[in-house]
């Protein structure tokens, strides 16, 4: 009799361990949404030294409208994109993510493009995208976008398209999730899933086992490999590379709207936009790579030339090439079939794939996260909301965007706000130390949290200064400071020790 009572108490208060694998935009969104529930004990597991360093960090940084995903062919993309756009409007406010909502123009330069635009308009209406309209009047187009190409004959205006810095979004989501109890495991690579009789028991990692009842696979390019660990291998994820140019802040003319060409079969085409950091960004191309090239983020002549030639077609003028800050590329996880793979399976309990989150994955992430809640409910898991859940996260106070009065106050309160480390974007030592306090352990971690290193000089002077601050705060030898975790140290050793070894004075 006593035993029975105890068991029913357990049932009522039962807590489920959830392991979310992958701290990109998708895993981070899911972590945040699940952190609202009292009876979930969440681990967010990431193989890299920081969050958001896979697919999430290098893309066009757009919050899409949701007009171009064909609901027949790609039902999940169509279902989650427009809804995600709506959710982001709330999330960027709650999480203090830099954002803007200037809308987009999809540009037709020849007759047959107009048919494409009409298709998009029709699809957009089905997908619930508000406010779209087709504009033929050149004067109106010029007013919406002064730098629009003279060859434009019509454009589809999508007022709901927005922009944000995707790496900052992931950081914000994870900070908020962690503040609400999620446990973050960095540099932790899942190498196996432990199961008994079709039920999850835990995950095996390079740092030992993590006990879990539920696994959510949000591993971007590697989602097929993780999924195969539980015997679900009905899809593959191949990398599709996109290359970009980003210009200096002073480089113009910039664009007000996000400019797309009329769509082509497997990509939305080369986009021209001005980022939330106020820099012109052009790209991407779309190059399908072999499945074993999931880390191939190099730039190529062909890719960059393609981007340049196609970007030119959308605007009156591009800035000169000598105002390029840098070129980069990102990989999109292209799934078999082309649609998102968000599913649970009969052969394995409590395993959910959130895979193939190619474009519009960034946009869809919040709505997909809420859908994961529905899937958990379908498993019959009783979810109880926390009485206290904090939706608010504040970003690091930036000197760059502060007024002179605010700057004065910042320095008075903390003199390190007067110590400017990055001269391009006026990032101060106070911000860098705050970034470290919030979890940055690498140069890139500082870069993505503060904007240092992103300016026109690409870290000419601040690299050394940031390395010194990191070494001091993390209490490590300075040469062991890394750009992006183990294997990317800034040096190969202590200079004095190095020459002594070389000359045979020391072993």
């Amino acid at each position: 009799m006593d035993n029975l009572i105890i068991e029913s108490v357990l049932e009522l208060s039962s807590t489920y361990n959830v392991a979310i694998i992958g701290a990109g935009i998708v895993g981070a969104s899911i972590a945040r949404v699940l952190s609202q529930y009292e009876n979930l004990n969440i681990s967010l597991i990431e193989k890299e030294a920081d969050v958001g360093w896979g697919v999430s960090k290098a893309n066009t940084a757009l919050i899409h409208g949701g007009y171009d995903d064909d609901p027949q062919k790609y039902p999940l993309r169509a279902k989650f994109c427009a809804k995600g756009n709506e959710l982001w409007r709330k999330w960027v406010e709650e999480l203090d993510i830099p954002n803007k909502w200037e809308g987009a123009l999809i540009i037709a330069t020849e007759e047959r493009d107009i048919h494409e635009l009409k298709d998009l308009l029709r699809r957009g209406k089905i997908n619930g995208v508000p406010g779209m309209r087709l504009i033929y009047e050149k004067s109106e187009l010029e007013r919406l976008e002064p730098n629009i190409t003279d060859d434009v004959i019509a454009a589809l205006y999508v007022p709901t398209v927005g922009q944000m810095a995707p790496y900052e979004a992931v950081i914000a989501l994870v900070e908020n999730a962690v503040a609400n109890g999620v446990k973050l495991h960095l540099l932790t690579k899942v190498i196996g899933v432990i199961q008994e009789n079709g039920t999850i028991k835990g995950v095996k990692t390079n740092k030992g086992n993590i006990k879990t009842d539920i696994v959510i696979n949000a591993t971007g390019l590697y989602a097929d490999e993780i999924s195969a660990m539980v015997g679900v291998s009905n899809f593959k994820i191949t990398p599709r590379r996109g290359e970009y140019y980003i210009f200096r802040r002073e480089a113009g003319p910039k664009v007000k709207k996000v400019l797309f060409p009329a769509p082509k079969p497997h990509t939305k085409g080369v986009v021209v936009n001005t980022t939330v950091e106020d820099r012109l960004l052009i790209g991407p191309n779309a190059q399908d790579l072999p499945i074993d090239m999931k880390e191939a983020t190099e730039t190529t002549f062909e890719g960059l030339n393609f981007v340049w030639e196609n970007a030119k077609k959308l605007v009156k003028k591009l800035p000169p090439k000598n105002l390029i800050i840098r070129t980069f590329s990102g990989l999109r996880p292209e799934p078999t079939g082309g649609d998102f793979i968000i599913a649970k399976y009969d052969n394995i309990n409590y395993f959910i794939n959130v895979a193939g989150m190619r474009s519009p994955g960034l946009t869809a992430a919040p709505s997909v996260a809420y859908y994961v809640v529905e899937l958990l409910k379908q498993y019959g898991i009783p979810l109880k909301k926390k009485k206290k859940w904090n939706p608010i996260r504040k970003g690091i106070k930036k000197f760059y965007t502060a007024s002179f009065q605010e700057r004065e106050q910042l320095i008075k309160a903390n003199p390190l706000y007067g110590k400017i480390v990055c001269k391009c974007d006026l990032v101060t030592e106070a911000e860098i130390i705050e970034a470290i306090r919030r979890g940055a352990t690498t140069i890139d971690g500082i870069k993505f949290r503060t904007g240092a290193f992103m300016g026109e000089c690409q870290g000419n002077f601040c690299l050394v200064k940031i390395a010194r601050i990191l070494a001091r705060e993390l209490n490590i030898p300075i040469w062991k400071v890394t750009f992006k975790g183990p294997g990317t140290e800034i040096g190969v050793g202590d200079a004095t020790q190095y020459i002594l070894k070389k000359e045979g004075h020391e072993k």
Partner: protein
């Protein structure tokens, strides 16, 4: 925000800024302040531990830190008010004799300096791989020469073991030697031009003496490597600097050092509306080293990329004298300026305007190498013989005031500087 009223604000405490501040004070102006963004004085000199500094100015061969130390000692002796950890954020040309320089200072917050003059000595930054169009991956192990130098000689970091250096200017050559001395394996110095970019003595002392190969007419086009640099792709170029297909070679290395030129730091001057000279990537100055904003003087690498620190100091002292004239006389005279025209084979020339009423030191560079030439100042019929002129070697030519008399007499509004071949026999 605090308002401070002064006569002269010197921005940047590298050799040029130090020399300027010292001279202004020596000439009797007490209300001079020196603003430095770093936590120490000397600019880039403290990390230049090789000799070759001060041969002209101190008549002694000094290392960078020694050179800096001498200037710093003088600055302290003269008790020039100095702000460390302080960065200029904005320059506002408020009135003819009042500029406002807004400074963020770690110790004092935001300060608004109201000043009659500014000496802008903020140096230059290095070009980086993306500005050279080097594509490929973005791993650890790619540094500018200045970063690698700071790593090694300020903070004791060994940046890498197998080094490829991009650019054979003096900076690249000196870094090649520096790496070799520290026990690294310098695989190659890569130079896009058909001739080396540095001084002949440096080719000997930094490359030949250490057996380091120099690849002329080559460029690095691509960097490979996932986490750390694994190799670079180099390619030969033709006389138009275009890549020759099929000449690609892979050089294995773990470090790429970019020593491919400097770009003047002039953002605040640009924002304040100073007129620019595309050939120097800096502002236009007159023979007082004054920009188009009255009372704002520009010197050192912020004005023109100099070969020698001695020239930088020379410019600093000259600007200091000009600033003191501006301060004591309420501005400089409104001269009928004569434009300096870049004639045959002159790529850049500073100053761009002259008054004709004082001695002028011209600093310039040629576009291509030539032997047995005269640098001719056409309108005043004056020439200077050179055995050879080369783009890497700055021309420094002093012309006395007397020589400009024909300009004044003929009411000429320009002076043309050209390279002319000396006829044999």
């Amino acid at each position: 925000m605090k308002d401070v009223y002064v006569d002269c604000v010197v921005l940047g405490a590298g050799p040029g800024g130090l020399a300027s501040a010292i001279k202004v004070k020596e000439l009797g102006i007490d209300r001079v302040v020196l603003i430095e963004s770093d936590e120490r004085l000397g600019g880039i000199l403290p990390q230049c531990i090789h000799p070759g500094f001060g041969i002209h100015y101190f008549k002694e061969d000094l290392t960078g830190p020694e050179f800096a130390h001498r200037l710093i000692k003088k600055l302290f002796d003269l008790q020039v008010k100095t702000y460390l950890n302080s960065l200029a954020l904005k320059i506002i040309p408020a009135k003819y004799d009042e500029k406002i320089a807004i400074i963020a200072s770690a110790d004092e917050g935001i300060i608004r300096f109201h000043t009659k003059t500014i000496i802008y000595a903020t140096g230059a930054r290095e070009r980086h791989r993306h500005e050279l169009g080097i594509i490929g991956s973005r791993p650890a192990g790619v540094y500018t020469a200045g970063q690698a130098q700071a790593f090694m000689d300020l903070y004791g970091i060994m940046p890498g073991k197998d080094i490829v250096i991009v650019g054979s200017g003096d900076v690249g050559l000196i870094m090649a030697r520096r790496f070799a001395l520290q026990g690294a394996n310098v695989k190659a110095v890569i130079e896009i031009m058909p001739y080396p970019g540095g001084l002949t003595r440096n080719i000997q002392q930094c490359l030949i003496d250490f057996g380091i190969p120099l690849y002329l007419k080559h460029k690095v086009v691509k960097i490979n490597g996932r986490k750390r640099v694994e190799s670079v792709v180099i390619v030969e170029v033709d006389e138009n600097l275009s890549e020759i297909p099929g000449t690609e070679k892979i050089l294995k290395c773990d470090t790429v050092v970019i020593a491919a030129g400097l770009i003047p730091n002039i953002d605040l001057l640009k924002d304040a509306g100073a007129l620019l000279d595309p050939s120097t990537k800096s502002v236009i100055v007159n023979d007082f080293l004054e920009s188009s904003i009255p009372g704002v003087f520009v010197i050192g690498n912020a004005l023109v990329i100099n070969d020698l620190v001695d020239y930088v100091v020379e410019q600093g002292q000259h600007a200091a004298k000009s600033a003191v004239t501006f301060i004591t006389e309420g501005g400089l005279k409104g001269y009928p300026w004569k434009r300096v025209i870049k004639g045959n084979n002159i790529r850049l020339m500073v100053p761009q305007l002259i008054s004709g009423e004082q001695d002028v030191i011209f600093y310039g560079r040629v576009a291509k190498p030539e032997n047995n030439v005269r640098v001719v100042f056409e309108e005043i019929n004056k020439g200077f013989f050179y055995l050879h002129v080369r783009p890497p070697e700055m021309l420094r030519i002093k012309v006395n005031r007397d020589a400009f008399e024909p300009l004044i007499n003929k009411d000429e509004n320009k002076i043309t500087i050209s390279i002319k071949k000396v006829k044999r026999g």
